[in-house]
Symmetry: C2
Amino acid sequence: MNTSELSTINPFFVMEILEEAQQLEKKGMQIVHLEIGEPIEKVDHRIISFAKKALDRNKDKYTNSLGLIELRLLISKYYKNNFNLSIDPNRIILTLGSSGAIILSILSSTNYGDEIIIVKPHYPCYPQIIKILGRKVKFFETFEKDNYQINFKKLSNSITKKTKALIINSPSNPTSISQSEEILKKISGLKIQVISDEIYQGLSISNNVSSIFKYNSTKTIVVNGFSKLYSMTGWRLGYCILPKKIIRVGQKLQQNMFICAPTLSQHAATKAFSIPEKNKNVLLMSYKKKRDYLIKNLNKMGINIDYYPDSAFYIFCDFSKFTNNSLMFCKEILNKTGLALAPGIDFGDNYKNFVRISYAGSFSDLRKGVKLLSNFLMKYNV
Amino acid sequence: MNTSELSTINPFFVMEILEEAQQLEKKGMQIVHLEIGEPIEKVDHRIISFAKKALDRNKDKYTNSLGLIELRLLISKYYKNNFNLSIDPNRIILTLGSSGAIILSILSSTNYGDEIIIVKPHYPCYPQIIKILGRKVKFFETFEKDNYQINFKKLSNSITKKTKALIINSPSNPTSISQSEEILKKISGLKIQVISDEIYQGLSISNNVSSIFKYNSTKTIVVNGFSKLYSMTGWRLGYCILPKKIIRVGQKLQQNMFICAPTLSQHAATKAFSIPEKNKNVLLMSYKKKRDYLIKNLNKMGINIDYYPDSAFYIFCDFSKFTNNSLMFCKEILNKTGLALAPGIDFGDNYKNFVRISYAGSFSDLRKGVKLLSNFLMKYNV
């Protein structure tokens, strides 16, 4: 028996904080969750009802490996309506969360040992998934002073013969910023495989729905899903749209690795497309209020947010006035006050002074959290 | 953009046949499905009701990465009741189907390039998953004349310095045979990592519930799930039980690759453990009847089954009297008669003359299928 070389990969620190918080909750402590990117909203009643209907009709066996054609047609229609694009539903694979979509996208478009660029600050799991799959991570940094926009010229220059793919995430976790249309357009023309993780699509607070597909819908890969916009986190349903050239590889990977996405979730998600637009506007308005409240109060505490988070539902904050080890800081504040926050180290190893605050929860929790944080920081006497 | 080296992996041929069959069904053709290992039984009403209750209570957000503790405690209790073992629930990871469990087991116990032995005839996806994850496959063959039992001495001799793990599958897909207790015991003592895929546990027709854990519950890995015994295929819920030494790696892999298993499925599956034993006996009796009927009728057609399939719900049949290319044969019979069967090539490249027949469906479908097959074979005039 040998120890896996993967024993050195990072945990998903925010999951660690969440699990520690859940332990404290079991011991009776009240916890305010501003650590996880999990929308508090109840899943729409249309989706819930249709899930029950699927249960009544025993629609719970394996589906086609690509997923239910009904749902893939609706996704295709969504791209028609939003971007006037005709996406062949047979290029869409319904996956086990957007996590499954990222795995299939990487495996079907790169080889073992290939270099993949990810943009810092980054979604915690990207580098781990890339390492697990035997690919190499190359980091490309963006900066608060640039509103976390990608410097395209620098990005182009960082691409070498070894670089085979780029993963972008716009709107982004942990910054909640979107890349500009100009940058998306330029990126769409890169010669390497572009994988655009658009899981926060539709959560732009100004209601600007964008996609790399606007500029290149044949050669780029889109990753998306139902977890964030529809709050269906535990339903584990995402999708990827692959170029024609590699869809067959993607399908074979899906058949062998995962068989198919959860059937009930697939049926239920068909109803996501009949939720009235006005519901979404109410949602975005509530995110706007929470964002503005949070930024205003952070500023009061001496934490200046020098960029403009245009989408829901994170703020990536520089806490260097208070700590140079935000993991320890997050554990301390959790244990002392019951406030759970995400340590910056999850998003890149140079963000040891950063903390990500999520306002995906309720306004009342956000208020409580702001108060706990404010009281806790007082002892630092800034 | 480059083509993935994985473009050469096999599809899961039975999924291909299934998907071709579904196409024909859409065109109005009546199909008899004896190709897929998907139990026809409705999911128990207790499970369905509890899923609805979970929907009503909005229990559909992320869970702990290991999974709901309630369900892990019930799984632990199951091993207590059946084998008098105390399994720490924190060694259990609830996964995205048993597929997810196999992936985590391989990744957490072996390194890139390591050799893993699988036993032929094998579950179609094993070699593909091993290749996808960058490990090397070594085949170990078993034979009908030996009732597909593993020759332990030969197996031991086939282990080299490069061999780091062995995957066994008892009861087995595609043969439906169980390895003897003596063989399980010997295998449990091997120095390499043993991964025991026990997804057909509980489906032994003589109601003999066994596990590698009977002989070594600390160093072996068990993979199991809810798809087969409880017919919950589309619910995508499995689990693996890892040795203490590697559980932390397994958990980090789960956090990064999959986040957690589907939440509704986790809640619903807690009720699987309150299904009365007598229901299982009724199920096993129906499998026994179907098995005996199928073997008798295959014999009549000149297809002799020279081994004893002790578990549900497959028969692995030598069709060499009729074809030396069972993939073509399966496609021909599907298109001409509407009978869907699984080609032997799925289970090892030397099984080109074999066909796997599944009796996981209804007795009436089995009868129809037998008739279609019998009529079709007449033209061969054996």
